[in-house]
Amino acid sequence: MKHTLAVLVENRSGVLTRVAGLFSRRGYNIESLAVGVTEDLSVSRMTIVVEGDDNVLEQVTKQLNKLIDVIKVSDIGNDEAVERELALIKVTADVNTRAEIIQIANIFRARIVDVAPKSMTVEVTGDEAKLQAIEKLLRQFGIKEMVRTGKIALSRGPKKV
């Protein structure tokens, strides 16, 4: 089972390696990890997607809480949450396929952010299912390169983590 953790940490050098090191040495699998600063410049927020049952989740949460630089850990997977990920996909494209790719992009409300004689780059935002769907459709043209940010998430409503 996948869980999405929002982890508030001190915005300091070395914190990312502490968190990543914890996952690797305890044998937990990180599906994705996204990190950036929050509304408070001294705090960074990591969104970590981790695979495992409830026991694993409990251990991960407790071990994260033991790190001095970790301020708060919340499992926001179970709540109503807005989840987004951004992907840039560079697709093989020429005069014959360009129109179709643009059409697919439009359907997914994705944007074409670069065009060259033999390629196009699509920027798409959404949840995991949407990203997977567009990736599958674009694959037929040949995906040269793809990069994903990893999931970020906020719970719905006025509640903060």
Partner: protein, 563 residues
């Protein structure tokens, strides 16, 4: 928050002032290039500095000092190899939750990351074996960092903290002030147990008919021995201790059933397996204690009291967890529990004790290692016992009669050979009025025997008793039992004459070759009031018994003393 007047000082001077503010009186260390500014300040300081002969010993000595005093131990080593030599000592302290602060020199800030001479990324290296660590990047942060380091090391679940000090940080000038308070929003240990949980636990405990208290090193760390004994007496429940929990209840107390686990007493293991309720206090269900997890205490409900929430249900599912400080929670529990109906249970345990006592082969010609421990127990009542790791460690756990907490020091979690002698030096420095005895094997002693020079130079009269059997005995025992007596590289006989070795360092060297010589040799060593080594030639192939093979249930016990 600034307090008092500020003054301009160098980083090195500031460090010394910080240590004074933390009431540090002793450092165990070894100088080097990156530490020159700090050592120059130490030259004029009132701090006592014990110069070791290998940095690993500095970390172990700080650990031994911390375990006997309850204060935070401090060690210091230079950049690169000095710092990496501390690693084993830091890992030892981490596994056993011992508060130490390790200070390391580092190459100047401008050179970090350039593979400079004697550069090692020690904060990276020690990340998994410290509670927290710091690389000081601005000299003005130094006082705050030191304050936080001592706070983190000594509170919550205690442990080692490392501070890496680039050389330029120690030479630059700062306005010194020492913060009064620590503000760490990500670190707020829980001390007070949840009242609801305590009441729930008390209810279950009172209903139990076959209760066992399983007491670990957390009792010692939280100074909760008196409360533990009071609690056990209030319930009339037997107490089994872990290796780390030895000393939490006197050996001779009528409710003590001794150590449980791999080399625990049969009656402790039987009690656990047949119990209907286990109250684990400051213990972590380590594999050496539980054996096969699926068959551990099959009929017992489990109450787990621990200051570290991450230990709850880590290995064994817990029915009633109480997170907090053992001392405070036991005090509360004592108020709510009533005496269990445990008379038949205690009678059964008494029978087991009679039927399966800890014994060994008595011999009038060859010295049995267990006999040596019994002799030491007789002669050195109230001594602080420190051990290395191996057979002698288990015999020391089984056959010495302990009466107080903080008198049995051993590397329980990491199992560090070479821990004992330097830790014993630290213990003696911390409690000079106490007799300190290092129980050692001939293998372990050679891992840090260079510290004899430290003992002699600093006049630290520790008695090392080597149970010399010419083997790496514990490994040999496993080879005997599980590898068809194929003693692959465990024969170390004739490696050194320990008496001459001691004498070469200027220490007293004595030898015992017959049972009748053991007592007099130990007495002479104590009487000399000098650093002393007693080389005791013991039975070569004695085994630690009883023994639960790794991975078996803890009532599947091999009886080895008859072979």
């Amino acid at each position: 928050m600034k307090t008092g007047s500020t003054e301009k000082v160098t980083g090195a001077k500031a460090l010394i002032k910080c240590l004074e503010q933390e009431h540090v009186d002793t450092l165990f260390g070894y100088p080097g290039g990156a530490l020159l500014p700090i050592y120059d300040e130490l030259y004029d300081s009132d701090l006592r500095h014990i110069l070791v002969r290998h940095e690993q010993a500095a970390a172990h000595a700080a650990d031994g000092y911390a375990r006997v005093t309850g204060k935070t131990g401090v060690c210091i080593a230079t950049s690169g190899p000095g710092a990496t030599n501390l690693v084993t000592g830091i890992a030892t302290a981490y596994m056993d939750s011992v508060p130490i602060v390790a200070l390391t020199g580092q190459v100047p800030s401008s050179m970090i990351g350039n593979d400079a001479f004697q550069e090692a990324n020690i904060t990276g290296i020690t990340q998994p074996i410290t509670k927290h660590n710091y690389l000081v990047q601005d000299a003005n942060e130094l006082p705050r960092v030191v304050k936080e380091a001592f706070h983190i090391a000594s509170t919550g679940r205690q442990g080692p903290v490392l501070i890496d000090l680039p050389k330029d940080i120690t030479t630059s000038e700062i306005e010194f002030y020492y913060p009064e308070k620590v503000e760490l929003r990500g670190y707020k240990p829980t001390y007070k147990g949840n009242l609801q949980q305590i009441k729930r636990a008390a209810e279950e405990i009172t209903k139990a008919e076959r209760p066992v208290i399983y007491a670990g090193g957390g009792i010692i760390n939280s100074n909760a021995s008196a409360e533990l004994v009071q609690f056990a007496e209030a319930l009339m429940a037997p107490v089994a201790t872990t290796l780390m929990g030895i000393g939490a209840i006197p050996t001779e107390h009528f409710l003590n059933v001794g150590m449980l686990g791999m080399h625990g007493s049969k009656y402790a293991n039987y009690a656990i397996q047949e119990s209907d309720l286990i109250i684990a206090v400051g213990a972590r269900f380590d594999d050496r204690v539980t054996g096969k997890l699926e068959s551990f205490a099959p009929n017992a409900k489990i109450v787990h009291i621990d200051i570290d929430p991450a230990e709850i249900s880590k290995n064994i599912p817990v029915h009633i967890p109480i997170v907090g400080d053992a001392k405070q929670i036991l005090k509360m529990l004592i108020k709510y529990v009533k005496r269990c109906k445990s008379e038949p249970w205690l009678a059964k345990i008494k029978e087991w004790k009679k039927e399966f006592p800890l014994t060994y082969k008595k011999d009038s010609k060859v010295i049995q290692p267990q006999f040596v421990i019994e002799k030491i127990s007789e002669i050195c009542k109230d001594a602080i016992l420190v051990t290395e790791v191996g057979q002698h460690q288990m015999w020391a756990a089984q056959f010495f009669k302990y009466s107080e907490p903080r008198t049995f020091l051993t590397s329980g979690g990491l199992g560090t050979m070479g821990y004992g002698y330097p830790a014993a030096l630290g213990a003696k420095v911390g409690r000079p009025e106490k007799l300190v005895v290092d129980i050692s094997g001939d293998g372990s002693f050679q891992m840090n025997s260079q510290e004899l020079a430290t003992a002699v130079q600093n006049e630290i009269p520790v008695v090392a008793v080597i149970l010399n059997n010419g083997y790496l005995g514990m490994v040999r025992q496993w080879q005997e039992l599980f590898f068809d007596r194929r003693y692959s590289y465990t024969d170390i006989s004739g490696s050194v004459d320990f008496v001459k070795l001691a004498e070469a360092y200027g220490a007293l060297g004595l030898r015992a070759e017959r049972p009748s010589e053991v007592g007099p040799a130990i007495e002479a060593a104590i009487k000399s009031e000098r650093p002393a080594v007693v080389d005791v030639r013991v039975e070569c192939e004695a085994n630690v018994s009883p023994m639960v093979p790794a991975g078996a249930a803890i009532n599947e016990i091999l009886d080895l003393e008859e072979n």
